[in-house]
């Protein structure tokens, strides 16, 4: 506690130097907000983003590997901040979620009646395997969302160095940062925006500040080329969630982009074969053109996904943000990067860079996300159970379908599912709404209905 007080006056003075390690969404958001705020209060800071990747090339090595869905709430937050997503960065605007189950499908339309969700490529797009794919590449150049955000940070005055930082040392008053054995500078603040897919988090763990990186699981992503017209006619503006009980698969979804669809899968030991099996599942196959065959090779990657919070994500002159700190469970990771980055930027510029300042003004944002994830876990367990129990699944689909048929009535169940899968609302709010007594009663009545119909059918047979 004494130590906390002793360092509580570490403030960023004019000319202060900030090193942002990582130019993913968290790093860029931090830079944008820190520089904007500093400018607003007349503080002159020198901020450099160190990013090891170039986001301009195709394939996983130039990409921060994700499904690239920017949630409706983040699209709106960014628009308010003056960051507007337009083509070619925006690949497709989404207004519908389509839930495909073995008992049928159901379409949920955007509550706000507009195309409010964006799909993007994080890097320069999928690796092209055939000439037909190459012919459909957008010719307007830069399509990377991460690169677009870096450009926004540059406009605010950030310097960007395309190098890898391989060492951070804490011997002196200020942290020192190094690349290839060469000292870059003594930083007034080091921002760890390095995500969880690089070794950089280990570098911070070794600093002895108590930082422990978040727990992670592997996810599987593939980009399948089916041509722009097919994407439009077969998938339209809808993200497809498949609840099909494939062994070892917890979650699978198809996200439409320009001329590709992105397949995201979560589960144990997912391999290329799991993806091929998924594509060969009749429900999934049905969504693809008749003449279409699963290609032998396609752009794919196995990134990590954050499923638990980091411990002690800050110290004097050090703050960890984005995936390297706290992220919402399975959803809206870019939105969490925005939240943590902004909270850290506001703290650093307005309150200083001491451990105490970060504890008081930054950590509450992380704790809020972590607490909310507890309810997220409960909600995902509930959805899995529903999906695995045919009677309850059938009842849920009946409730959803009847709600969708009545455009004017309140769609309690649909909005719960919509917010849950779009990442639009906090899990805590969704949890409270899911346990609304009226909704539960309707659900229960439908379960009895389904049981009754089953018995009736059995009796007839």
């Amino acid at each position: 506690m004494n130590k906390l007080k002793k360092n509580s006056n570490l403030e960023l003075k004019d000319g202060a130097r900030i090193a942002v390690l990582g130019g993913g969404p968290a790093g860029s958001f931090f830079s944008i907000f820190a520089l904007k705020l500093a400018n607003q209060i007349g503080k002159d800071i020198d901020l450099t983003i160190y990013e090891q990747k170039s986001f301009l090339n195709e394939g996983p090595s130039s990409c921060n590997m994700c499904a690239g869905v920017v949630s409706e709430s983040l699209v709106q937050l960014l628009a308010i901040e003056g960051i507007i997503l337009r083509p070619p960065i925006l690949q497709r605007a989404i207004d519908t979620y389509c839930f495909q189950t073995i008992s049928g499908d159901v379409l949920l339309h955007s509550i706000s009646n507009q195309s409010g969700i964006a799909t993007v490529y994080r890097g320069g797009g999928p690796v092209c395997k055939s000439t037909s794919e190459k012919n459909e590449k957008p010719d307007s150049g830069k399509i990377s969302f991460d690169d677009f955000l870096i450009d926004c940070a540059k406009k605010e005055g950030a310097n960007v160095e395309n190098i890898r930082v391989d060492k951070v040392k804490l011997n002196n008053e200020k942290p020192e940062i190094f690349s290839k054995g060469e000292k870059l500078f003594d930083a007034d603040l080091v921002v760890g925006a390095c995500g969880i897919n690089a070794n950089a988090v280990k570098m911070f763990e070794k600093l002895g500040i108590g930082y422990t990186s978040p727990s992670v699981i592997k996810a599987f992503q593939s980009e399948i080329h089916i041509g722009e017209r097919n994407v439009s006619t077969l998938f339209g503006n809808a993200i497809h969630i498949f609840l099909i009980n494939q062994p070892d698969v917890k979650f699978s979804a198809i996200t439409p982009k320009g001329s590709y669809v992105t397949i995201s899968m979560l589960g144990k030991n997912i391999t290329k074969q799991t993806v091929v099996d998924f594509l060969n599942n009749p429900l999934v196959k049905n969504k693809f053109p008749d003449s279409w065959r699963t290609p032998d090779a396609f752009c794919r990657c196995v990134p990590m996904i954050n499923v638990g919070a980091a411990r002690h994500p800050f110290a004097n002159r050090i703050v960890m943000i984005g995936d390297a700190s706290s992220a919402r469970l399975y959803k809206d990771g870019i939105g969490s990067a925005y939240l943590t980055a902004k909270a850290a930027a506001n703290t650093a510029i307005l309150y200083g860079v001491s451990r105490a300042a970060f504890y008081k003004h930054y950590y509450p944002t992380c704790k809020k996300i972590n607490r909310d994830n507890f309810f997220g876990k409960l909600m995902f367990t509930l959805t899995n159970t529903i999906n695995k129990t045919p009677i309850i699944r059938e009842a849920l689909l009946t409730v959803l379908r009847s709600e969708q048929k009545q455009p004017e009535s309140d769609h309690k169940c649909s909005t719960v599912l919509w917010d849950m899968f779009t990442g639009n609302e906090r899990y805590t709010d969704i949890f409270i709404r899911a346990f609304n007594p009226r909704l539960l009663l309707r659900f229960l009545i439908n379960i009895f209905n389904v049981i009754f119909i089953w018995f009736k059918n059995m009796w007839r047979q």
Binding site: A79, R86, S115, S232, K342
Partner: protein
């Protein structure tokens, strides 16, 4: 078709009314593409108060003061707007008050512009009354 699929928000045709003066509204709008004009009607005379372009927002006043719309807004050309409803907006501001900075910044700029216009009008009126004194 392609443009429709790859654009956020909602589409408004040239001349369509986004909202009318004195109507009740609980949404603010951000211009994704196109332009809008802000119109105020006095008797039969319509005056264009401003033309707003891509990236700008309008309708935010009703979110804060809950009063009816102060002017009519119409699309100029094909326009796409992102709509943000009051409840979502206030929830977001309560989570992150600094979100209001940009809106306050824009509102202050608009007040400054209005102040400038009022000053010019007052000076013009003073000149007119002075001139009329000279003639009488």
């Amino acid at each position: 078709m392609k443009n429709e699929e790859s654009s956020l928000g909602r589409h408004y045709k040239d001349g369509s009314v986004i909202f009318k003066e004195n109507s009740i509204g609980k949404e603010m709008y951000i211009i994704i593409s196109g332009k809008v004009k802000i119109i105020k009607k006095k008797g039969t005379v319509e005056t264009i108060l401003a033309i707003l372009e891509e990236g700008e927002f309008f309708g935010e006043m009703s979110l804060f003061d809950n009063n009816p719309r102060s002017a009519t807004v119409k699309a100029i050309g094909n326009t796409r707007l992102l709509e943000i409803n009051q409840k979502d907006f206030l929830k977001r501001i309560s989570n992150d008050p600094s979100l209001a900075f940009r809106i306050l910044e824009k509102m202050s700029q608009r007040i400054r512009i209005t102040d400038g216009k009022i000053l010019n009008l007052v000076l013009e009126m003073k000149k007119i009354t002075k001139d009329s004194h000279v003639f009488t």
